[in-house]
């Protein structure tokens, strides 16, 4: 059994306690008055807050540890293997104004309005709920392993205190409070990564000296393709897979929808990409620095925490903990916010309308449902994450491929092409999922082909079915007004 590291354990608990208290206090000052307010802060958010929230949401602790570990194990191959995660921001940036012009509270709601289909809205809602629930569980697994390895805390306790710290402000404050807290956490993460990269360069005696040290360990670490091991076929598949998943992130969409003006959506979806490029480079340097100093780690995932314990000055240890905890909580609260928003806005609210409930009652029930969902989703994720399921195996490109296959074509088709019909959207989504699932399990005669096959197949079905069927008059008219 790991012995408790009192220093890191106390630091972690102090951070989480402060998060709980500050979050609760902010929630009491900024009362949520509607589902729209809960989901997108009534579209009153400014650019700095949403940009930082976007960055904090993306740079979870799993990302910090995972990318540093990849840099440790594979060096600059990080720049090619994860290129798709950068490229995925480009489609989002191109539709920033169009997306913002739809006064909706979630991506599934946009899909429902665009295609005039409550069923399609529910279908997309269920897809996002499933995906974000898996990601919440993955992050909790990461939380447990991380705090257990660094601070010696029991896994179940680590996960529980993290969830308790953020449930209150997510349930009571919604997007408004969550975005404010995440923006502070993003600053912490960026300062730590930047500082870590500078320390990595400094301890090696300069950037070129660091490269020389890396070359002495293993020259392939300097190659962006691992000396050809990452073939063009593999890179095409990984690029398309990561790209299509990132481009369909419902939490990014909600952040863009929260902007007070379209320009806020532009900054929110445009600026993080270049920030993440710089962050990747910093994490890469940290990973390589650890590789030169501790070349025989049993697990590359230990690179990030060990850098701050073994390479960086001792006093940076607590900063590292704060960065990791910031990443953990920023990702978890965003996933929980997304799940609860979709359940209340895209499942419960349409049901209430179908039952012809009054608007006031609908809003009351929806907001309360969102709060209850925060608790329920957290509890479910907590229980499942402790069940030793091979969840981490899902935290791979495969999930992004299925995600993109299900959502990319119908979502962007709806934003960019007025002829796209509801039937086409639904059928392309289903076909995309089937092709992705089948091809991922096919003999690996063409590595990386599953993303290409599923996206192309989804697109062919979408275009073909749209041409074969005339959309209804209402969605075409609505789509025409916006797409013009």
């Amino acid at each position: 059994m790991e012995s408790v590291n009192v220093y890191y354990a106390v630091s972690s608990l102090v951070f989480l306690a402060a998060l709980l208290l500050v979050g609760y206090w902010l929630s009491r000052r900024q009362r949520v008055v509607s589902t729209h307010d809960f989901a997108v802060a009534s579209r009153q958010m400014n650019a700095p807050r949403m940009v930082l929230m976007n960055i904090a949401t993306y740079l979870s602790a799993v990302s910090l540890i995972g990318f540093t570990g990849y840099g440790y194990a594979s060096g600059f191959a990080l720049a090619s293997f994860f290129f798709g995660t950068i490229l995925g921001h480009l489609p989002l940036s191109l539709v920033a104004r169009r997306l913002h012009s739809w006064h909706v509270s979630s991506i599934p709601e946009f899909v429902g309005q665009r295609y005039n289909s409550t069923m399609l809205r529910g279908w997309f809602g269920l897809i996002f709920i499933a995906i974000y629930t898996v990601y919440l569980m993955l992050n909790l697994v990461g939380v447990g392993v991380l705090l257990h390895s660094v601070a010696g805390l029991p896994i179940w306790l680590s996960e529980l205190v993290v969830l308790l710290a953020l449930m209150a402000y997510v349930a009571l404050g919604g997007m408004r409070v969550t975005s404010l807290i995440n923006s502070v956490q993003a600053v912490v993460i960026l300062v730590v990564v930047t500082g870590g990269a500078l320390i990595a360069i400094g301890t090696a005696g300069g950037f070129l000296a660091l490269l020389d040290n890396v070359r002495a360990i293993d020259p392939t670490l300097l190659s962006a393709t691992s000396d050809g091991a990452l073939t063009p076929g593999i890179l095409l598949g990984t690029t398309l897979g990561w790209m299509s998943g990132v481009a369909c992130r419902a939490d990014f969409g909600a952040q863009a929808l929260s902007g007070s003006r379209a320009r806020v959506a532009g900054w929110t979806l445009g600026l993080p990409a270049i920030v993440i490029v710089v962050t990747y480079f910093g994490l890469n340097l940290i990973g390589l620095s650890v590789r030169t100093q501790l070349p025989h780690l049993a697990s590359a995932d230990a690179a990030f925490p060990l850098f701050f314990r073994e390479v960086a000055p001792n006093w940076t240890g607590w900063i590292m903990i704060f960065a990791l905890l910031s990443g953990i909580t920023a990702a978890c609260d965003s996933y929980i916010l997304t799940i609860s928003t979709i359940v209340s806005n895209d499942i419960v609210k349409p049901i209430m309308h179908w039952r012809q409930a009054t608007l006031a009652r609908t809003e009351r029930v929806s907001v309360n449902t969102a709060r209850v969902t925060v608790l329920v989703s957290s509890a479910v994720a907590f229980v499942v994450s402790l069940s030793n399921l091979p969840l981490l195996a899902l935290a791979t490109l495969s999930l992004f491929i299925v995600w993109g296959a299900a959502c990319f074509v119908p979502l962007y088709g709806g934003l960019l092409w007025r002829r796209g019909s509801m039937v086409a959207a639904l059928s392309s989504s289903v076909v995309g999922i089937v092709l992705a699932a089948v091809w991922l399990n096919a003999p690996p005669f063409a590595p990386g082909s599953s993303a290409l096959v599923s996206l192309v197949g989804s697109l062919v079905v979408y275009v073909g079915v749209s041409f074969l069927r005339q959309g209804t008059r209402q969605p075409e008219a609505a789509a025409t007004q916006v797409l013009d």
Binding site: H36, A79, L90, L94, A224, E363, A479
Partner: protein, 59 residues
Amino acid sequence: MPVETVVWLAINAFVGLVTLFSALYVTRTPEMTDAADSPSSGDPPPLSGGATDIDGNEN
């Protein structure tokens, strides 16, 4: 550092910058931005009842 690595890093940076400037470009025009946000912009009517608060008042 191998040339391919420099190229890949440059591609990453290029795409990041293109993403930023594309987003700013498509959201660039104040008139278009104001038009998109105004009630007369032609936005489709909210099918789900619109944004109202718990007391039934519109946001």
